[in-house]
Symmetry: C2
Subunit: 189 residues, 2 copies
């Protein structure tokens, strides 16, 4: 039984012990070490993952070998290549561990099963998906409009924990700014 998963779901919907047991039975667990890959480019993606412990990054590598950071995931975050997962296509991204990681994961078949058998879980994932949508819309706005200074300030406010746990090189790649610019900005914090 995962205490973390139950607590996470119950932030949105209360569950009875029986309900949680039913849900929990459809998840499996997985551990990965720092630097290992969870998802690699060109693979089919059969699962979505819930982070119990640790830190991951989702990256895209362009034709010239340049790496872009699409997303981080840490405790209580969900991660996958959602495009590949929902559309049954091969992944175009890599997801790897920045720290040792403990995960729970669920297949699409079981995700649909728990949502169809439990209206509460359908509600939970509707709400999570809408929060995810809002977070991505903020990221788009920030990519379109912000100066490096604004991007960094917004990141620091939104994800203070990440600032402590992720190297400056990686934060710079996430924000799309140079390592030097980031150092200058973070010295002023």
């Amino acid at each position: 039984m995962s205490v973390e998963l139950r607590k996470h779901i119950e932030e949105i919907v209360p569950l009875t012990d029986e309900e949680f047991e039913f849900i929990n039975n459809h998840f499996k667990s997985k551990s990965l070490k720092k630097h290992q890959y969870l998802i690699q480019e060109d693979e089919l993606v059969k699962h979505i993952y819930f982070v119990i412990n640790g830190l991951l990054k989702a990256t895209f590598t362009d034709a010239n070998g340049k790496e872009y950071i699409i997303q981080f995931a840490m405790e209580n975050w969900w991660i996958s290549d959602f495009q590949a997962f929902y559309n049954n296509v091969k992944s175009i991204i890599n997801i790897s561990c920045l720290q040792n990681v403990e995960l729970l994961y669920i297949s699409k078949e079981n995700l649909n099963k728990i949502c169809s058998e439990s209206h509460k879980m359908e509600h939970f994932f509707r709400v999570k998906n809408s929060s995810g949508y809002v977070a991505l819309q903020q990221r788009i706005l920030s990519l379109l409009t912000n100066s490096p200074k604004e991007s960094f300030e917004q990141f620091s406010q939104q994800y203070p924990q990440l600032l402590q746990r992720v190297s400056k090189t990686i934060i710079a790649a996430y924000l799309g700014i140079s390592r030097e610019t980031l150092s200058r900005l973070s010295d002023k914090l």
Copy 2:
């Protein structure tokens, strides 16, 4: 009764006449003319909107008055300032009509009501939210990594109808490239 809304929902879940009537009763309709605003900066956002007919743009204006295009919406698309709507905060964007528009709209209270009373609708919106999330993730990837040429080609493939219906100046603002660059690229199509 909106035939368009029923057809749109039934692409994901089949409904009985009674179920659709119940859902439909929670929507109201609204018409706006070209150039009119649906949502203005600094307003609270009480509704999400389903487009029956017409075309809209969602924009952000920065401190220097420069306008960025965040999203379009046309027939069968949902639009709102989702951040303001879900988080009960004031809108930081504007949504206005590029053509005359007919919309259906629903309040958050009624959205939650139809989702809570109808598991099918909770499912419908879970699926729509996940598709929306995937579309935004693709946009982020494209903003991070694509050259103007790639951005334009991707846009042309993804939204061929928009290419016909939106001016080049507006498409250039959406892609974050100059009007001149876009003209050069679209001449080669």
